[in-house]
């Protein structure tokens, strides 16, 4: 018996040791080693061209996209609303978005920038800083990739620089001078990053672009697979956009738009008027235009079918007109998809065009509707108008879903007066098309188009020469003639021509996030404070329509204007971290 017990215990002991053995009893220091992990390291990424490129592709994914499409910080800017609703072009009825919660009622203040993702550009949430960091990490590490040739490395670095430049361009236009990040910071590094002057910021952006230009290919060689990558034309175009913004009176002026510490430190203006900036803008534009005209790839889409051409110009991928496009998907997944909810947002009220915008579109013959010779018929207000109207705004009676659009009160697009789909009497058509053909279609955001460059060139020429030159007319008319709209009236004064160009930009580039920056760079207080209108259309018994304009819901700044609205506030949390950020004036 006693031996049985002992054998039993010995076998149990062996069993236990055996089980222990499964987990390998490490007696030495190895015991506390971490088991190998499958996590990737920086070294493994930059050990192979394919992985290194994927790091850059991720940086591409941080690029700004102009429509609300998803729940991420980047794709839900303004909380499902769109920035054009801040301008005179569009009115938003989306109750829960940033436009109606913060901007229209005047609730926006610096504190909002701390947490809310509902502002027009969030210093913390936009993802710009992440994109810039990714680009620098790529630039700093790509040289050690063994299986990549020097030429490719140069080109990819230039593309990374463009990602930095695009993010800084957008921040520059929303905030003015910025802290300049010039490398990827390590965790232990001191983050002393004082805010640069507005001029130094612009110069840094231009330098970054200039560095990229020579290493970029003029065009994407294999657009089927790689459209959307940065090209030389893209870089030259971005430079025009940055310079034009800088040359404009908001920054390039004899006095700041508002006094304050940031103004004293020249962070929100250039400290004086420098006419050369207009020349630099024109030169940059001319350089690009010349090269475009010498080569065959780029140009306005012009097949002789004005409406289709205009749509194709902003909508279709890989056209020679879009210089920079950004994407978040290949195709939109469907109307109710949460992964691309822009279409739904338009039904909740973000897409109500103002009658004031509709009235800006001239007649097909080029004359403004206010001109007595224009042929404008107030009883048939949407007839014979600039074709761009029909592709930008859904107007009553235009073709829609294989029928006619019904925007009268009670019609299918505006069943009730307050129907958020078209509460102003109009609905945005750009990007939405007729809903059905937009969903499941190729998705891109036309960040920068060649037509903008033409108009910027015309605008700069007008400023340099204190009045329009024939060349200035030529490039405005180029835009108009593509849609068969008659030439601009000749003999305009400098001011009249300037107004004509700004209007042309609104007509051509509506809903493409251009108007807001046009209004602020020209400090157009009157466009912010004017009353805006909608149009009530009623269908009469005999099938005709009556039209009655009405005032749209007011905006706080219409009666309480302050120039502080030109630039956004920095989040106080960031200001208070004490690395050198100075709050913008008025906030």
């Amino acid at each position: 018996m006693k031996y049985t017990i002992q054998y039993f215990f010995i076998s149990v002991a062996i069993l236990l040791l055996g089980l222990q053995g499964c987990d390998s009893v490490n007696v030495g220091n190895k015991f506390l080693e971490k088991p190998p992990s499958v996590d990737v390291t920086k070294d493994s990424i930059f050990s192979k061209a394919e992985f290194a490129e994927r790091f850059l592709w991720h940086a591409y994914s941080t690029l700004p996209y102009g429509l609300p499409t998803g729940w991420s910080n980047k794709t839900d800017e303004l909380g499902m609303d769109i920035q054009p609703s801040l301008t005179d072009l569009n009115q938003s009825y989306l109750a829960w978005g940033g436009i109606n919660q913060l901007y229209y009622p005047g609730q926006y203040n610096a504190g909002i920038e701390n947490g809310s993702g509902k502002t027009k550009y969030s210093y913390q949430n936009s993802g710009a800083w992440g994109g810039i960091r990714d680009a620098y990490i790529f630039i700093e590490n790509v040289d050690r990739v063994p299986d990549m040739d020097e030429q490719t490395k140069k080109q990819l670095k230039a593309e990374a620089r463009m990602i930095i430049a695009v993010h800084y361009t957008d921040m520059f236009r929303n905030f003015g001078g910025l802290p300049w990040v010039n490398h990827a910071y390590s965790p232990n590094e001191d983050l002393e990053l004082p805010r640069l002057t507005a001029r130094a910021t612009m110069d840094s952006i231009v330098t970054t672009i200039d560095k990229a230009i020579p290493d970029l290919p003029w065009k994407v060689s294999d657009p089927d697979n790689w459209s959307g990558r940065f090209t030389q034309a893209a870089a030259m175009g971005l430079k025009v956009r940055v310079l034009l913004f800088g040359a404009s009176p908001l920054f390039n002026s004899s006095k700041p738009y508002l006094e304050g510490e940031a103004a004293d430190k020249k962070m929100v203006w250039f400290g004086g008027y420098d006419p050369n900036l207009w020349q630099e803008t024109a030169d940059a534009a001319k350089k690009l235009i010349d090269k475009v005209e010498q080569s065959s790839y780029y140009g306005l889409v012009d097949t002789g079918n004005p409406r289709e051409d205009f749509k194709s110009a902003y909508y279709d991928r890989g056209s020679g007109e879009v210089l920079i496009s950004t994407r978040i998907r290949y195709k939109s997944p469907g109307f109710w998809s949460g992964q691309y909810y822009f279409y739904q947002a338009t039904r909740y009220g973000i897409a109500c065009t103002t009658n004031d915008y509709v009235r800006m579109f001239p007649m097909q013959n080029g004359l403004p509707i206010t001109d007595s010779n224009s042929g404008y018929d107030p009883q048939n207000p949407f007839e014979n108008r600039d074709p761009r109207l029909y592709e930008t705004v859904l107007v009553n009676g235009d073709k829609y879903k294989n029928r006619k659009a019904e925007l009268w009160i009670g019609g299918r697009e505006r069943k009730t007066k307050k129907n958020h789909l078209a509460a102003s009497g109009f609905r945005m058509r750009k990007f939405i098309l007729d809903e059905k053909s937009a969903t499941h279609s190729v998705v891109q955001w036309p960040y920068l188009r060649l037509s903008e460059i033409y108009l910027s060139y015309a605008e700069a020429l007008n400023e340099i020469n204190n009045g329009p030159t024939p060349e200035a007319y030529q490039y405005v008319n180029k835009i108009r003639n593509r849609v068969d709209v008659g030439d601009l009236q000749t003999g305009l004064s400098q001011k009249e021509f300037r107004e004509a160009v700004l209007k042309e930009r609104a007509l051509e580039l509506g809903y493409e996030k251009v108007r807001w920056f046009d209004l602020i760079r020209w400090k157009r207080k009157e466009d912010f404070t004017k009353k805006l209108h909608g149009l009530n259309i009623t269908k009469n018994g005999d099938g005709t329509f009556s039209y009655q304009t009405f005032e749209l819901p007011g905006r706080y700044w219409q009666n309480n204007w302050s120039p502080k609205w030109y630039l956004s506030a920095f989040p106080p949390n960031e200001v208070n971290k004490g690395y050198g950020l100075v709050q913008n004036p008025g906030w």
Binding site: I5, F8, V12, A13, L15, L16, L19, Q20, D23, V25, F31, L32, E33, K34, P35, S37, V38, D39, V40, K42, S44, I45, F51, R54, W57, H58, Y60, S61, Q107, G111, G115, Y123, W129, I132, R133, D134, I137, P179, V181, Y185, P187, L191, L193, D224, N225, W226, S227, G228, R229, R317, R327, I328, R329, Y330, V443, P572, N573, E574, K577, Y579
Partner: protein, 1012 residues
């Protein structure tokens, strides 16, 4: 694949059961069948001064379920035999033990001589302790009528706060030792026989004792793993040479402590109309419809369903069988336990399907076989085999009970009938879930799990080499696996649509059917797995030198735990030592140190040194107190030391990780270029949290009746990992690293009081415990806050913040004349807030600290009382908390109607209307999301303090003389109630469980306990 896994699992399961049965049988081989003659032993219990002690509990060590109590002359009678041992104990931890050499004996009770485990197999006499520990014997767990030992710990040990957490078995609890000291993982270390294992894996009957280690002197030996406090569980071992069998059977019925009541359909309809009217919207129900709901004449078109009554029966039931064998031969002893519990839940109907029930069932089989064998005269070998098998059944796959309760807490009584006239399930398109249908007609799932614990220990006496020296070695292996099987199906439901005539009268109905009835669909998966193993080596050296005594040890311990999933392997290693030195049995000094490390910390930075020093002085033994007769014992303790917490809030924060991330859509086709993205920046200088703990204690025993322990503590914890986003600019462009900047201090008091006396033959005791622990965040890298009152730093961890309500808006005038509230448009009856910063608007900046944390109480207390009169016993345990808040956001109960929820009568009776604006305590009814009202504020942050009667027991022990004819040693019958009532401010829901889910339960138990 799954089938294969399933098969494998089944094979494993069979093997596992076989092995356990073999081992158990083997232990039973030792059971000697002969039963020695029992004699009546009589004796007298005296204290050290020779006075008889009344009320001492007497037991025979070898069969500890036989108990007697000494009478006023200190006399007792107990069954025992020559050669066994008699122990006497009082509640205040005085004890004495004697071997029986003749049928009458005298026992002298020595204060503080009971011995309690203090970790790593060490034990210490209470008198000699210099550290702060709490202790409870296993007996106090078995009379709680619970199946999970965690639920037996409410209010038992000062400094250990135990909170209930819903009623779905196995009802795991939240435990805190001295509150919170970190905003990261604060979970305590639970050790069963020295190795890390869940307490809930055991059954109460196998637990000999539980020790709670609280101060640095007690915790330092656990090094990096001890700072949150340690719960030491010691299991029972064989003591007697003869077989003792204990059998108990407990049958209980369970019922919900509280269930909310929702409005009947007529009142619901008018409440809905009121809400719509408040929102400026058109009413949904006409008066005729409301009348129809009220009349109940048409239960199909105008139903009035009490969904709780439809889905829950009044009582669930639970059985608990427990049998233990304890015995052995001269050189081998065993303790064997088998425990089976079966719990049937509250759902009904559950038997509408052939072949299976959809009841919530929990069946658990626990076994334990602890064997001690003296292989030689000075070599002791211990082998412990324990484990459990759990089989559960739940309605519907996956989250059945929670989905049912979600439906119960949202679907109005007016929504639809349970079944339509055609016998189909009722439903509507707004409310897809018919609670009765989900309960009975969506199949079931059965989560199953197995757990195995294996320990082997050797203890070699090395007196031969050096008197007082011994060596120990131990290994352990633990394995847990769970496996889920589901058989689920879908049901179809029918919606009844009225057909109206021109006058709006209902002339007919049509029905539409949605969904489809499907066959059972099989699905299975592995759940969790974990395995762990330990290796321990230890040298002990204990000697007495004249008046001085020395106990010391050094040990090496390494532990490896592996959970499924990446980065889930934990290796820990510990070198520790302790020297305990006593002089003249009056002065004691302990020095403890640990050098411990783990694999979570970066290389080169893995180890830390954790020292502690503590001392005790027994004043009552000093000559200057010799005349203080009332003072039976008085001891002062003090300790200081350091211990660590290595539980990191995330995996590998010190490693800079990169992972797959968003790529880009360059191509003109639907495949995109993948991306890599940089993860959170690596934490530099990653280290463990260091807790510096100071403790002062007083232990006293007065008038031979009153035991008193008081502990005061102060702890400061540093190196707590915390975010740096408040410091580092966003310009960085990547998630900020964590830093080890966090600092929290924690201070408080634990008090334990027990009065024990008798009146004639009536023995009684009354005791109370009180714990207070208040922490304060000293540093958390907090982001800038524009107003000082918004700061979290300086407050307690988890401090609630919210808006201060000052009433409800009376009318539009009131709104116009008040500060603007920026959350949503306000109307009369909405909550009006205080403008804390006077900036004229109410926004997030007006949130102030309100009350306390919603996560844990600062104060917990308990009271226990009982008496025993000639075998009839009554005992009761109350537990309470204070400085504790609840956030009342339970759907329908507190936040009604919005998002198609229903409304409780509790809310309805307290809502704001223009008529009762003065007495209302809740805002107006609304159907909108109303961000103004439904956000953290003083209305929803309610006082969660409570006092609960956790246990009330009435028992009767049959006279020994009567039961001896059946060869029984003791027979006890009892009736118990658990969670019988709660006194609190929450009223409609259990203050410990204010969410919608399976409710906390009350139970009524009847039981029988027999010892042979």
């Amino acid at each position: 694949m799954t089938k294969n896994i399933h098969k494998k699992f089944k094979v494993m399961e069979r093997k596992f059961i076989k092995i356990s049965i073999c081992l158990t049988m083997f232990s039973l081989m030792f059971i000697g069948m002969a039963k020695a003659q029992q004699n009546e032993i009589t004796g007298i219990v005296r204290d050290t001064s020779g006075k008889p002690v009344q009320g001492a509990i007497i037991l025979v060590t070898e069969h500890s379920d036989t108990q007697a109590v000494s009478d006023k002359d200190g006399k007792f009678v107990i069954d025992g035999q020559i050669g066994q041992h008699v122990e006497a104990r009082t509640e205040n931890k005085a004890s004495g033990k004697m071997k029986i050499v003749k049928p009458d004996i005298n026992i002298t009770l020595k204060n503080g001589t009971s011995v309690i485990p203090i970790g790593f197999g060490q034990t210490r006499k209470v008198d000699e302790m210099t550290s702060s520990v709490g202790f409870v014997s296993g007996q106090k767990l078995t009379n709680k009528g619970v199946i999970n030992p965690e639920n037996a710990l409410y209010g038992l040990i000062p400094g250990l706060t135990v909170l209930q957490n819903g009623g779905e078995p196995p009802t795991n609890v939240n435990m805190f030792i001295r509150g919170r000291e970190t905003f990261n993982d604060n979970s305590i270390l639970v050790l069963v026989d020295g190795f890390e294992r869940p307490l809930s894996s055991l059954s109460p009957g196998e637990i000999e004792s539980i020790t709670v280690l609280k101060d640095a002197a007690a915790l330092a030996q656990y090094g990096q793993h001890g700072a949150n406090g340690v719960l030491l569980i010691t299991t029972k071992r064989g003591k007697s040479d003869e077989l003792q069998v204990n059998f108990s059977y407990d049958q209980s019925i369970t019922s919900p402590t509280r269930l909310p009541e929702f409005l009947n359909s007529g009142t619901y309809a008018s409440a809905m109309n009121e809400a719509l009217q408040n929102d400026g919207l058109a009413p949904r129900y006409s008066q005729a419809e409301i009348d129809a709901y009220n009349s109940g004449a048409d239960p199909y078109l105008f139903p009035n369903v009490n969904w709780f009554n439809q889905v829950l029966r009044d009582y669930g039931n639970r059985s608990n069988f427990n049998i233990t064998f304890n015995g052995g031969v001269s050189n081998a002893h065993y303790f064997v336990l088998m425990n089976y519990v079966n719990d049937q839940g509250l759902f009904s109907p559950v038997n509408q399907n052939d072949g299976y029930s959809t009841q919530l069932k929990y069946g658990r089989f626990n076994f334990r076989s602890n064997l001690d064998v003296n292989l030689t005269d000075n070599l002791l070998f211990q082998v412990d085999v324990a484990g459990n098998v759990i089989n559960q059944n739940k309605p519907k796959g996956g989250n059945g009970p929670s989905q049912i309760f979600n439906a119960l807490y949202s679907i109005p009584s007016a929504a639809f009938p349970v079944k339509t006239p055609d016998g189909n399930w009722g439903g509507s398109q707004i409310y897809g879930n018919n609670p009765v249908a989900i309960t009975s007609s969506t199949g079931y799932s059965s989560p199953n799990s197995r757990e195995l614990f294996l320990d082997g220990k050797l203890n070699q006496d090395l007196n031969k080499f050096l008197p007082g020296l011994s060596a120990e070695a131990a290994i352990s292996y633990n394995n847990y696996a769970s496996y889920w099987e589901s058989k689920t199906k879908q049901y179809s439901y029918e919606v009844i649509n009225p057909v109206l005539d021109n006058g709006g009268n209902i002339i007919d109905t049509t029905t539409t059917t949605y969904g489809e009835d499907t066959e059972l669909n099989y699905w299975s998966s592995f759940g969790n797995q974990r395995r762990s193993s330990d290796l321990l080596g230890k040298l002990n050296y204990s000697r007495n030198f004249g008046d001085n005594e020395l106990q010391s040890m050094v040990l090496f311990h390494q532990n490896s735990m592996i959970f499924n999933g990446q980065n889930n392997t934990y290796h820990r290693r510990n070198f520790a030592g302790n020297i305990h030195y006593g002089i003249k049995q009056k002065y004691y000094l302990d020095v403890t140190a640990s050098y411990s490390g783990n694999n979570l910390l970066p290389k080169g930075n893995r180890y830390g040194i954790f020292p502690a020093v503590s001392g005790a002085w027994i004043l009552s033994k000093e000559s200057f107190l010799a005349n203080a007769n009332f003072l039976d014992r008085l001891k002062l303790r003090a300790s200081w030391g350091m211990t660590g917490n290595d539980r990191l809030p995330t995996n590998n924060p010190d490693i800079q990780a990169y992972h797959g991330g968003n790529g880009y859509w360059f191509t003109n086709q639907n495949n995109y270029q993948g991306g890599f993205v940089e993860g959170r920046l690596a934490t530099s200088n990653l280290t463990y949290e260091s807790s510096y703990k100071t403790n002062f204690g007083i232990d006293a025993y007065l008038f031979n009746k009153l035991a008193l322990n008081i502990d005061l503590f102060y702890a400061k914890r540093t190196n707590i990992l915390t975010n740096t986003d408040g410091l580092i600019s966003n310009v960085l462009g990547v998630q900020d690293p964590l830093s080890t900047d966090g600092i929290v201090e924690n201070k408080g008091i634990d008090v334990d009081l027990l009065w024990q006396d008798h009146v004639g033959s009536l023995q009684y005791h009354i005791g109370g415990q009180f714990s207070y622990a208040k922490n304060k965040i000293l540093d958390m890298n907090e982001a800038y806050r524009p107003y000082p009152y918004l700061k979290r730093t300086g407050n307690s961890i988890g401090q609630s913040f919210g808006l201060q309500a000052v009433g409800f808006f009376k009318d539009q005038n009131d709104i116009a004349n008040s500060s603007r509230q920026l959350f949503s448009e306000v109307r009369p009856g909405d909550i009006k807030y205080k403008d804390q910063n006077g900036d004229g608007v109410i926004n997030e900046y007006d949130e102030v600290p309100l009350g306390y944390s919603t996560g844990y109480p600062e104060i917990s207390f308990s009271a226990n009382l009982g008496f025993d009169y000639k075998g009839i016993g009554v005992s009761a345990l109350f537990q309470g908390t204070a400085h504790y808040n609840a956030y009342l956001n339970t759907q329908s109960v507190y936040w009604p109607l919005r998002a198609n929820n229903t409304i409780s009568s509790y809310y309805y009776n307290r809502r704001w209307t223009a008529a009762n604006a003065q007495s209302a305590t809740f805002p107006r009814l609304t159907t909108e999301s109303n961000d103004n009202n439904f956000r953290p504020n003083s209305i929803w942050l309610a006082d969660r303090s409570f006092v609960k009667l956790r246990m009330l027991e009435v028992s009767y022990a049959l006279p020994v003389s009567f039961i001896q004819q059946w060869k029984m040693n003791s027979v006890k019958l009892y009736a118990r109630g658990m969670n019988l009532f709660s006194i609190d401010n929450i009223d409609v829901l259990d203050p410990e469980f204010v969410s919608s889910g399976y409710p906390t339960l009350r139970s009524y138990n009847l039981g029988l306990h027999i010892a042979f």
